[in-house]
Symmetry: C2
Subunit: 274 residues, 2 copies
């Protein structure tokens, strides 16, 4: 397994020739920490190792975990008991000009910490449909890569009164928010857009779908339409983000939706520390 | 007009919170320099200013031009008379976590210089079709942004014996190479994929299409198919890159193509210094 060069963001940036900057040639994880432990930490690390491998970047889970331990010791005392955010940015490295990746490149790992933002309104948030279409390359689907310009452009519309915008693919199907995955409650089932069409396949989404299935619920992965959300069958729309949690949508594009706060109680971050 | 923070890559990298690294939230230009002058420099600067504006990043052409002058003075003496490469990387800046861009962010501009690579074989190069599909968001079409992971993945197949791979869209149309635009010669006309479907709309492509039209040639912008290239009407396929020039393709996916070196003489970098 390749080692990586470790950079603490509070001390230094990445070298100017880093391919994460040049081409978005890398990926990242944003982990909710409580003290020195991380919520769904194993899943975050597994996703990073697996998706890095899809990009041809080799990194070992054991070494990533060791960095998280170091980061926990370094940062946990600086933040409140509610927790903090650990961000890992892994790039292919640098040193050679041009798109072509060299298998011999040594990855760079940038580690940073930041305070938790305030929790979203538990009574539901206001969202809209995004004017920015989402395009997902099948080869890169689900990877939390550093190519996030579509999300940036879509997020320009967010503000005090708009918590999230929902992006659609070229067929008009609802795929995900800028920083959240979608889950819809209909009469007798849960519906989520399939993993293969997602820009980012979130760890909370995966955990929650497994958990619901374990509880015997019907979970269907299929394309989600505007009619699904605005039609009479909708019993609630939820946004999923491993740092922010499970967030009910109260209003979408001016339409009020039924709000069921029951789902939020399934996800207790404090029970999922690793 | 916003100013930017200027960084010389030989001295320092960008700050760890830079959004170019975090999200690919920025764009770049790679300019062939001869001494202190740049080939098609005006077009490079115009494209950067225009496309930055599409991303909501404000930068003035005058200030960019001043940086190029500084760079020319700083670097030109270090390279051979054949020239060198100037790279400008402009990002939205940094300082705030999350995708949402803040209009008050001050852009970062990273400037680097590198030697010219050896010129491609004037008798024609060997290319193949890429296994990596190209997906282009209509809102970002043509922008030489820092989101280039598709090109990186495709370029993994390049090597000594393969100069370029041609990427196709989801309809199977040939769009562009990893670092080159396409131009096809058929019996009585030139054919180029339309600008609206391009990942990167190159400055040499634009210059050349204008020049051909000025000379009274028929230039058609329409989707390009595999049959166009492999069929009997093909009189030559050319790759366009403002640093590398106009490059005839000799072989594509094992099929020999007619090679006409006449086009290369249209583009004389030394006549286009600004």
């Amino acid at each position: 397994m390749a080692v990586f060069r470790l950079f603490w963001a509070e001390e230094v940036g990445l070298p100017a020739d880093d391919r994460g900057l040049a081409y978005g040639d890398g990926l990242f994880e944003t982990i909710r920490m409580v003290g020195q432990k991380g919520v769904l930490l194993s899943r975050h690390l597994e996703r990073m190792v697996r998706d890095a491998s899809r990009l041809g970047i080799n990194v070992s889970r054991r070494e990533l975990a060791a960095v998280c331990t170091q980061a926990g010791q370094r940062f946990s005392g600086r933040f409140s008991d509610d927790g903090w955010i650990l961000k890992l940015t892994l790039t292919r490295g640098g040193g050679v000009r041009g798109y072509r990746p060299d298998p011999g490149m040594v990855p760079n790992l940038l580690v940073s910490a930041s305070p938790l933002a305030s929790a979203p309104d538990a009574s539901g948030v206001v969202v809209d449909f995004s004017r920015v279409p989402l395009t997902v390359n099948p080869l890169l689907a689900g990877i939390k890569s550093l190519n996030r310009l579509e999300q940036v452009m879509a997020a320009a519309d967010l503000g005090q009164s708009l918590f999230e915008v929902i992006m659609s693919d070229s067929d008009g199907n609802l795929v995900e928010g800028t920083r959240t995955n979608l889950l819809l409650r209909v009469d007798e089932a849960w519906v989520a857009p399939p993993a293969a069409c997602l820009a980012v396949a979130g760890v909370l989404r995966q955990w929650l779908l497994e958990r619901l299935r374990q509880r015997g619920e019907v979970v269907t992965e299929r394309p989600l339409t505007v009619e699904d959300v605005l039609g009479p069958e909708c019993r609630g729309l939820f946004l999923l983000n491993s740092v922010l949690g499970i967030i009910p949508v109260r209003t979408i594009a001016g339409h009020d939706l039924p709000v069921d706060s029951g789902l939020a109680t399934i996800f207790n971050p404090l029970e999922l520390l690793g």
